[in-house]
Subunit: 279 residues, 2 copies
């Protein structure tokens, strides 16, 4: 596996690959790689001739009181995992090259960034859209793969790419869950054993909503209430949101229909966890 | 000359050109081509193997009370001029394909967009940056050429390209002036003969500032006052701004230095005219 740090080297590499008529697949990550990431990488292998994975903990997508500094960094561990997952090139850019002094250009997907996580993490999706557009301009992937756990992120990036005529296909792949149902996340590392048990109620709550929907319930308030009850029985009080929204536009729904998404964000101890299920 | 209208056709054409290892030069315009544009096109011929010129009157860079509807459109005339100027491909995209329903992604160069024209045309540079990024993603030019009359636009686009790691070189070329000194502009068409005479004072005012600077005056207030006097003697009362700013950062200056820019925007009749001079 080749490791690249500088933007110019990465661009030169990708330009050469493209000139050879080869396809580039990219898996952008913030590192602290877990089985969810590795699953993305393995699946991305079939999507291109060259598999590039990037690791960049992006400061602009963290709020001032969020866990940018505490976020797990494990460069050597990540590299070993990437080798095993069949990555051809690991791109580890430096924050001071991605955001040089005087950096001031940002991309916003103005509507899709507003609800759900956008309401609780102002500026988050602006940071995500900006850094991903930069990564796309640097790595020039034909296809880029993201996890569906970050459901809103996936919609935001898909919209950005279409609106700005970026010729990169954005692909979302299913959430990878632990046996307990807990969605894999780098932030699960923040959880104590006790908190991890609590966190199992997130996916249970979403499955309860899905079950209600499958049983014929359509009223979103009723469905959400059933989900909330599971969270409250697990003593999860710090809920940013638990909502059912249109699966493409994220518009509010009174009556649920197939393709809608039930999504939640809760805080357990030091971790803010998100999860979702498509109805 | 080949004419292309659809985004997909344009991208396919440019991808093929790039695969051949050829360089693409782009001159983005809003049409109503005048000798200033044609000079850009002629000079851009030497910058690439394929010369593409686009014509798109971009709705998002016009304010609600501005001249979007009145802006001169002359597709056939423009095409004839482009042929003469050696353009290989004329790209005339449609507004409803550039901005399809639900379009919501915008790019902002947050600081450089604020002063000068930004203060009087809120949203203008957001519209400019967004459409130019789209054009760059569609046409994929190695180099794109703009006139220095839109001095702030040139800085904004240069910054955007660097901040977002777009591999297009943005080149600014000198203002083309009529014999009277009036900078060529599509909006000069709005002027009556009398107004056109008045408008000559714009460049005279800037030359007066430059002369003062060359004679050793450094105080920007004094220099600007000398320029304003010329405008007021020509009975130009509707001045959006006449300022001296740093030529790269557009920061306010108390004392002028070489490389600073004296820039103005005034309204004469139906026309809002801009001009500038580098000290």
């Amino acid at each position: 596996m080749k490791t690249i740090n500088s933007i110019a080297d990465m661009q030169a590499f990708s330009n050469a690959v493209r000139k050879d008529g080869k396809r580039i697949a990219l898996v952008p990550t913030m590192g602290a790689l877990h089985v969810g990431h590795l699953s993305l990488m393995r699946k991305a292998q079939d999507m291109g001739d060259v598999l590039i994975a990037s690791v960049f903990v992006n400061p602009t997508q963290f709020g001032p009181n969020e866990d940018y500094k505490a976020y797990v960094r494990d460069t050597e561990g990540d590299k070993m995992k990437m080798v095993k997952a069949g990555v051809d090139v690991a791109f580890f850019p430096h924050a001071d090259e991605i955001y040089p002094p005087g950096f001031e250009t940002y991309v916003e997907v103005e509507e899709l960034q507003k609800p759900l996580c956008g309401r609780f993490r102002p500026g988050h999706f602006k940071g995500v859209a900006t850094v991903v557009l930069k990564l796309f301009n640097i790595v020039k992937p034909h296809v880029a793969v993201f996890g569906q756990k970050d459901y809103q992120q996936l919609l935001v990036l898909n919209k950005m790419v279409r609106d700005l005529n970026v010729e990169t296909e954005v692909v979302g792949l299913p959430i990878i869950r632990e046996e307990s149902g807990l969605a894999t996340s780098s932030r699960n590392a923040y959880l104590s054993d006790e908190e991890r048990e609590k966190a199992v109620s997130l996916s249970r709550s979403l499955r309860e909503i899905k079950k209600g929907f499958d049983d014929g319930e359509r009223d979103t308030q009723t469905l959400v209430m059933r989900g909330r009850e599971i969270l409250s029985r697990a003593c999860i009080g710090d809920i940013d949101y638990l909502e059912i929204r249109d699966g493409e536009t994220l518009e509010d729904k009174k009556s649920a229909s197939p393709g809608d998404v039930a999504a939640l964000a809760v805080r357990i101890g030091k971790a803010r966890l998100i999860d979702n299920i498509v109805l």
